[in-house]
């Protein structure tokens, strides 16, 4: 039986979070009342002209640089024609043969790199809202158009067909999501549609050089639906080929509810977009000086950071991945170690305690009442054995609520660890006197009994005893 291989290429659309739209001064804020953020330009009224939003252009180039693309020194915009009510001019200003960036790559952790074919900038379309039953086109009574999204700056990042598994595709989109958030160029939010993705997927006999019939999948609106749609589609194509059928190039729509893809249009019905250069915008030139300024806006990229965390901070790749998946988390972590905390301890506190607690409260790291400096101070208290790790968690819980410094919490609650051996010896002797059986067990060779005895001392001291010190004294007392 023939073994098949799936080949996937992705077109990721990312709405740039500039203050204003790409060709006019309208706000890009999400969730406003329908058609409240429109003007003659983004409504495509007769006589209006586009004027490029310089910030959108710089952000597009920034993304191009971040994915290792070559930035074109001269690029232009083109008109892409198709009729649809959400497209006010019935053409979209996009880039055809001279995209602003081309030939880059994204390095996926633990997988092969994905080549980026091109990055280009274009305008987004409006949104159709179907009125009536089910708010579906099939059952609706009217279609309304909301042009708030019309003219939002949209970045398209096109990969080469380098992905082989649906999970890889998801990892690739996630890494782009992380990237655009790192660059502060987009919210990268799939639910709000600021990150969208179409896939080209085909199946071929393993080892074949030629690609199978390219099938485009649209309407995947979450990471889950990307994975499900591609998994479904790969299986559908394999099954068809296994049955001896031939597949034809087409566009298919993912139906999340039904869990299947359905044919939308065949190759024959494909649009002729009649691209031609946009005469209302000049050709753009990018000189060294301007490119250098944009390059200067590049932060350390997530994959570079991750590698550095492993190689120079000694973190595991998993931990490095957790910390670098969000720029604000990484920055928090880095601020914590900059304040003196050892990287591994800081990593544990940030990724487990802090993120866990915030996640439970549905908060982001930006909402944390514990500043990195305070977390570092807490870690220092443990390292100086002022408090135990266990007490530290209590202190931390208090800090999360009040935002107080750890010293203050420790003082106010009298949580300073008892490391004074003289003070502890009394407690240890009291515990030994109260537990003769355990003492006998220990002496008979049951060394694990010491754990129980440590626990009893901790209990007796209200958890403030230094466990290492208690351990040491117990051993001394028992072997005396």
């Amino acid at each position: 039986m023939t073994e098949f291989e799936t080949v996937i290429g992705l077109e990721v659309h990312c709405e740039l979070s500039t203050k204003t739209k790409i060709f006019c001064g309208c706000s890009t804020k999400f969730g406003a009342a329908p058609n409240s953020q429109v003007c003659p330009v983004c409504l495509g009224l007769p006589g209006t002209l586009p004027v490029m939003n310089a910030e959108a252009l710089e952000r597009a180039i920034l993304v191009g640089l971040a994915v290792g693309c070559t930035i074109r020194r001269r690029f232009k915009f083109d008109r892409k024609h198709y009729y649809y009510p959400d497209l006010p001019k019935n053409f979209q200003i996009s880039q055809y043969d001279l995209p602003l960036a081309h030939d880059g790559r994204v390095d996926l952790a633990g997988a092969h790199p994905v080549r980026v074919k091109r990055v280009h900038l274009e305008e987004d379309a409006g949104k159709l809202v179907h009125e009536g039953a089910g708010q579906q086109i099939a059952t609706g009574t009217a279609a309304l158009v909301d042009y708030n999204r019309s003219g939002m700056p949209l970045l398209e990042i096109v990969s080469e067909p380098d992905l082989r598994e649906p999970a890889e595709a998801v990892a690739y989109v996630k890494s782009l999501q992380t990237l655009v958030r790192y660059l502060h160029v987009s919210d990268g939010n799939m639910e709000e549609g600021s990150l969208r993705c179409d896939a080209n997927i085909s199946v071929r006999p393993k080892g074949a050089d030629e690609l199978g019939a390219k099938i485009e999948i649209k309407n995947m609106n979450s990471f889950k639906s990307i994975e499900h749609a591609l998994t479904f589609e790969a299986r559908r194509q394999r099954d068809a080929l296994a049955r001896g059928e031939t597949l034809a190039q087409e566009t298919r729509l993912w139906d999340d509810t039904a869990g299947e893809t359905r044919s939308m249009r065949s190759k024959e019905a494909a649009h002729d977009y009649r691209y031609f250069p946009e005469p209302d915008l000049l050709v753009f030139t990018m000189d060294d000086a301007r490119l250098a300024v944009i390059r200067g806006r590049l932060p350390e990229l997530p994959w570079t950071k991750r590698l550095r965390y492993v190689q120079t901070l000694g973190l595991t790749d998993y931990d490095a991945g957790v910390l670098t998946s969000d720029r604000t988390v990484a920055e928090y972590f880095e601020a914590t170690i900059a304040a003196g905390a050892p990287p591994k301890t800081a990593c544990n506190w940030v990724s487990t305690e802090l993120l866990g607690a915030l996640h439970g409260r549905k908060l982001g790291i930006g909402d944390s009442r514990v500043a990195p400096r305070q977390l570092a101070a807490l870690i220092a208290l443990i390292d100086k054995a002022t408090i135990s790790g266990k007490i530290a968690k209590t202190v931390f819980a208090e800090m999360l609520v009040s935002g107080a410094d750890p010293d203050a919490v420790v003082k106010a609650k009298g949580l300073v660890q008892i490391t004074d051996e003289d003070a502890l010896v009394t407690s240890v002797r009291d515990v030994l006197a109260a537990n003769p059986q355990s003492v006998a067990d220990f002496k008979a060779g049951k060394s694990q009994t010491i754990g129980f005895l440590v626990g009893q001392v901790m209990k007796a001291t209200g958890g403030k005893a230094n466990p290492q010190a208690v351990n040491k004294i117990l051993k001394e007392e028992l072997t005396r």
């Binding site: 003659p40 409504l43 495509g44 009224l45 007769p46 006589g47 209006t48 002209l49 586009p50 004027v51 490029m52 008109r79 024609h81 009729y83 009510p85 006010p88 001019k89 019935n90 053409f91 279609a143 158009v145 002729d272 009649r274 691209y275 031609f276 005469p279 209302d280 915008l281 000049l282």
Partner: protein, 495 residues
């Protein structure tokens, strides 16, 4: 008998207003009286804004009384071609598809005219979407040439030309994509300027072919053209193709003499198809220009014959794209259909006239996959070569002189069924748009039948002022531009 104020030029009116021998309200009323008298025969306008015009005129008079007048256009009635967007005033492009369209904004040129204090009289007729050379393609009926009501005023800015020639406005704005200001100016005995591409903002001009369109003045003389250009030109943040202008203003720069200017005439311009009377008139213009110190030399523009074919690939391609937005969804005419595609088809079929459909089909075809390289791309390459021809010619010449049109005004209906013949009437003007240069049309004679003849001066990029200077000096020593058409009923506006 005293000259009616309606027959004044801008600079004459400005002088009278300044001297307070005339008020803007009087001037505006005279213009509307003239409109009432001759408009039924001429049909220059699609929409009149009399009430608003009188209010603007009164406001201008108040400014003048308060010594806050804004310059030569303050209080002067100006007409606008109906493809220039006017806030709250219908802007139809002479198309049924925009019959009920009322823009929520003013074109930049309109904003600038208002800022200069101009009084807007109304919106003038044109060939639908500026596609044509006679106004016969207007969905609302043709305008007529005031010099002979059986003849066309030219197009597409024929309504603007007819209005100014018939004294129904002191001056007007038109738009020029392939000759749409210059050809009607020539046919109506007016001065008409197509500014250098980029000099005047296109924001608010309903686009025909974006890389060719330029707004400019149609006026009774060259001096008025300079005044209007100065008011409307200059960089505009809303138009990426507009340019920051440097140096002296056009009115200043066009004031000097023309001693020593070198003027080129291309031998390709004087070949077959040129009416002998037009040829004689243009040739005759050399005498006064030589007396004023100009020298003439023959030049060659070998690609001249390709200008019209290039134009009819580039212009319809852009037009087909620009007109895609008229679909019945958001504004303008909508015909209901069983589904969205049917609605598009019905709305566009009912809304567009035959010439518009012809150009959309032509433009769609040349941009289609498989034809793009052979037509559109090739046309762009030829356009670059043509531009180089002109730039080379203008290295050894300060300006070029050509006929404006191959013939004087033709009869209504004469070419209406023959698009190719109609296209040929722009043979001397289209290349100027393709190469982006400025060109000025100036009256230079009359045919035996009493029809005006115009000559065209073509200049270097952004050197519109030299053309205006040549034209103005020529008009100092000629009086073709002072003649008035013999309209049957000139009412109290008569001389």
């Amino acid at each position: 008998m005293m000259k009616s104020p309606a027959s004044l030029t801008i600079h004459e009116a400005a002088a009278a207003l300044r001297a307070k021998t005339l008020s803007s309200v009087e001037l505006t009323k005279a213009v509307f009286e003239r409109i009432r008298a001759v408009e039924p025969q001429v049909h220059a306008y699609l929409h009149l804004t009399e009430e608003d015009a009188l209010a603007q005129a009164a406001a201008s008079d108040r400014r003048r009384a308060a010594e806050e007048s804004r310059g030569p256009l303050d209080g002067v009635p100006i007409a606008l071609k109906d493809n220039l967007c006017t806030r709250g005033v219908p802007t139809t492009c002479a198309s049924k598809i925009l019959e009920r369209f009322v823009p929520p904004y003013d074109a930049t040129v309109v904003t600038r005219l208002r800022a200069a204090g101009a009084v807007i009289t109304g919106k003038t007729n044109l060939d639908e979407f500026a596609f044509g050379s006679s106004t016969e393609n207007s969905a609302f009926g043709p305008s007529r040439n005031p010099w002979d009501l059986d003849r066309v005023p030219g197009g597409s800015s024929g309504g603007s030309a007819a209005a100014v020639a018939a004294d129904e406005a002191i001056a007007a704005l038109g738009s020029d994509t392939g000759g749409s200001i210059r050809q009607p100016a020539a046919l109506c005995g007016l001065a008409g300027l197509k500014p250098t591409y980029g000099r005047v903002s296109r924001y608010g001009l309903i686009a025909f072919a974006s890389s060719l369109d330029q707004i400019g003045p149609l006026a009774k003389d060259v001096e008025d053209c300079a005044i209007l250009e100065e008011a409307i030109e200059g960089w505009d943040a809303a138009d990426s193709t507009s340019v920051r202008l440097e140096g002296p203003s056009v009115t200043q720069a066009s004031a000097g003499d023309i001693q020593g200017l070198r003027i080129g005439i291309a031998k390709e311009w004087l070949g077959t198809g040129l009416d002998p009377e037009v040829r004689a008139a243009v040739d005759g213009a050399r005498v006064p220009l030589e007396k004023l110190g100009c020298t003439f030399r023959e030049i060659s523009l070998p690609l001249q014959d390709y200008a019209l074919p290039i134009y009819y690939l580039v212009a319809p391609a852009e037009a087909s794209s620009n007109l895609a937005r008229f679909d019945g969804v958001k504004y303008g005419r909508r015909e209901d259909g069983a589904n969205i595609v049917e609605m598009y088809k019905k709305s566009r079929s009912a809304g567009f006239g035959p010439e518009t459909k012809r150009r959309i089909i032509l433009g769609t075809y040349v941009l289609s996959a498989g034809y793009y390289d052979a037509y559109y791309l090739k046309a762009l390459k030829a356009r670059t070569r043509l531009r180089q021809d002109y730039l080379d010619a203008l290295k050894e010449c300060d300006a070029l002189l050509s006929p404006a049109t191959p013939t004087p005004a033709f009869r209504i209906g004469e070419k209406a069924d023959d698009p190719l013949q109609m296209y040929l009437s722009d043979i001397y003007t289209v290349s100027v748009n393709l190469v982006g240069l400025p060109a000025l049309v100036v009256p230079c004679g009359f045919s035996a039948a009493g029809l005006p003849i115009g000559m065209q001066l073509i200049g270097r990029a952004f050197d519109d002022a030299t053309l205006l200077r040549v034209g103005a000096r020529y008009q100092n020593v000629t009086d073709w531009h002072r003649r008035k058409p013999p309209l049957p009923d000139s009412g109290e506006g008569g001389v």
